[in-house]
Amino acid sequence: MTERIGVYVCHCGTNIAGVVDVAEVSRWAGEHLAGQGVVVSRDYKFMCSSLGQELIQKDIKELGLTRVVVAACSPHLHEKTFRNACASADLNPYLCELVSIREQDSWVHTDKSAATDKAKAIISGGVARVAHHEALEPLRVPIHPATLIVGGGIAGIQAALEIADAGYRVYLVEREPSIGGHMAQFDKTFPTLDCSACILTPKMVDAGNHPNITLLTWSEVVKVDGYVGNFAVTINKKARYVNEELCTGCGICWEKCPWKVTDEVFEAGLGKRKVIYVPFPQAVPKYPVIDAENCAYFLKGTCKACEKFCPTDAIDFTQKDEQITVEVGNIILATGYDLFDVRRIPQYGYGRLPNVYTSLEFERLSNAAGPTGGNIVLRDGKTVPKTVGIVHCVGSRDQNYNPYCSVICCMQSLKFAHLVHERTGAEVYNFYIDMRTPFKDYEEFYQRLLAEGTHFVRGKVAEITDFARTPEEEGRMIIQVEDTLIGKQRRIPVDMVILSAGLEPRQDAKEVGKLFGLACGTAGWFIERHPKLDPVATMTEGIFIAGCAQGPKDIPASVAQGAGAAARVLGKIQQKEISLEPVRASINEQQCSGCRICNGLCPFNAILFHEDRMVSEVNPALCQGCGTCVAACPAGAISGTGFSNEQILSQIEGLLLVNVNGKTTEAVPA
């Protein structure tokens, strides 16, 4: 054994020494592990103190230690401390091993002799392991200053503006023809009743005009290569059939287009739009899109009305999808949510009973720019409802659909109740399970609704039906509900029902997650790095999340997350380079048989296969160091730094050196 190993046993005051006989452990290590290369073994009151660290540093210099084992607390607490101590004594920090005899021993056991024996075993494992440590250097990679933001809703817009204002390039990708997201569809925002468009559109315009923001609407990310600091992202720009250089957004084309189709996206199926269109008048960018699936020219080869009338010759029927690649250092995903499909609850009658509306439909109905000009009327287009029922928690807090609370529905339903009351004078019933109004000024808004005379019925709606039992129910819809506050079944006849549908992850969230190397939780939202302390970072370095992509939230929270994610990205850009833990896999090409078993195991696409040489190679900056490929390689060609086979196998041997009953077994030959 050529290594010279020092063992340092910490008392941690009485935290360790109170249960473990540290002096005995230290003596034993010096005596019994001498054959493994231990040249010095000491115990000290507080190893992490500067005196404790100096003790180690002195031994490194005077005794020429080549490896250090510290037996103290969890490496998650003080691994950095002791690595730094070694580094300042000119010993490579990765040649130090911290083993936990506190969290895993003295704190969880009461039998002092068993705890002392376990401490010996743990140290013996550490000594055996450290002999196989390699001197490593942290990986340093430069960070490209540009950022990709996916999703042009309010969270993405906020993030884009923050980063662009700081002077860095942003690519904002949006799959619809305009940025704005769901917020652009709303009429009012709770609890202030601000006009949604009035507060959103200035931000949209800022984003559209910003010299540092490249807007890529009607576009989708198709491929992500690279790693933190150095992503290469391929974006598919769908054909608009409009030359953006020439178009002035004058609007003559969509005025002259003779073809109308139902707008399922922006108007939620309530209104119509032309085949060449901008989703709404304040759209950013202002260029229209031709809906090729419905365009007479693409279907029959005739029409071209838009082309004939365009004053700048901007219509280009020959345009094709275009793939562009951008280089960015960080990515923010702000892909938002989908509305729960209320058809999944057939007893609520949506689609069968004409005057049952989804919350998004009602947003359009009450919007002054919407299909009815803001008049709240039934589907016949003229009847003003006299009684309106609003159902909370549709698809949320329901074990049959989504168990979680969608956060926004209570406040949104209160907003609807207020708008109905204000504009029609109708009687409004809100059916809720629990009233959840937790943020600033929200509870006050609820109190205001109570004062306005809105009826609140606590109970989950069982059924919405048009089957009348009494003459006054005739010709109306009846909401069947158990009023749990009075303990009675009630049947409430109404003219209009609004289903406050819950929020769900995007239908394609899983695929998007895979594209960017993110995981979705059980409900399908993207998983943050830490639910409390790191809500916008993800487990994939360089990829951040903001807004509803992370979980249901309202506008203020989405804006806060957008800004938060931007701050995190700016912090990374400012560092200019990032250092990564050198726990990485590498493949010995001599041993690799090219079987490609490892290729499919890597969730980060870090393993590339060289067809020409028939060998695989790990990209060290993409590799996250999980080690799955190391364990899977049938040829043993992959090794993992920091957690190599030799290190783990030796640690197993070391740990088994001392039996639970305290007997030292014969050392297993290595």
């Binding site: 895993q104 487990m539 080690g627 993992g640 740990l655 639970v660």
Partner: protein
């Protein structure tokens, strides 16, 4: 120390969940049997089946594999790979004459210190009931399971 059999169990933990669960059990001073010795891996997916054989060959009476809950893996989905290996290992061990109960898979998140401690206590009792393995002492089981010569011969296989 009484005469009752004290099993030695090697536990493999994931750096991100179960190792932190063990830390949490410690911080909260939850008590559990001292029979388990933990090894930290970056991920349960790192678990090479050789590690399990090595533990048994070296005298362990049982092996505990712990990882993140399904869907919570720090490395997206590598715990599923650990699950696959675990299921295969159970069958292979049975063929080698080792009771499949001597290997156990436990999902434990970083917040589940209490579950971690309780499961260890439960498992120690289960293994105690099984009795000692005595595998390492029979034949030449104390030698490493994968001889070094085998490793060298692999290099000769043309790529």
């Amino acid at each position: 120390m009484t005469d009752q059999f004290e099993p030695t169990i090697i536990g493999f933990t994931c750096n991100w969940c179960s190792y932190r669960a063990a830390d949490m059990a410690g911080t909260a001073r939850m008590k559990y049997s001292p029979n388990v010795r933990l090894i930290r891996l970056m991920c349960s997916g790192r678990l090479d089946p050789t590690f399990v054989f090595k533990a048994f060959a070296g005298g362990a009476d049982a092996v505990l594999i712990t990882g993140c809950h399904p869907g919570d893996c720090h490395y997206v989905e590598q715990n599923y790979k650990a699950l696959r290996r675990y299921l295969l290992l159970k069958r292979v061990l049975a063929q080698m004459g080792i009771e499949p109960q001597r290997i156990k898979l436990l999902w434990a998140s970083a917040a589940e210190g209490a579950i971690f401690a309780a499961e260890i206590n439960k498992y120690v009792e289960e293994v105690r009931a099984l009795g000692p393995l005595h595998w390492g002492k029979s034949g030449n089981g104390s030698k490493p399971i994968v001889p070094d010569e085998a490793k060298e011969s692999r290099t000769e296989v043309p790529a």
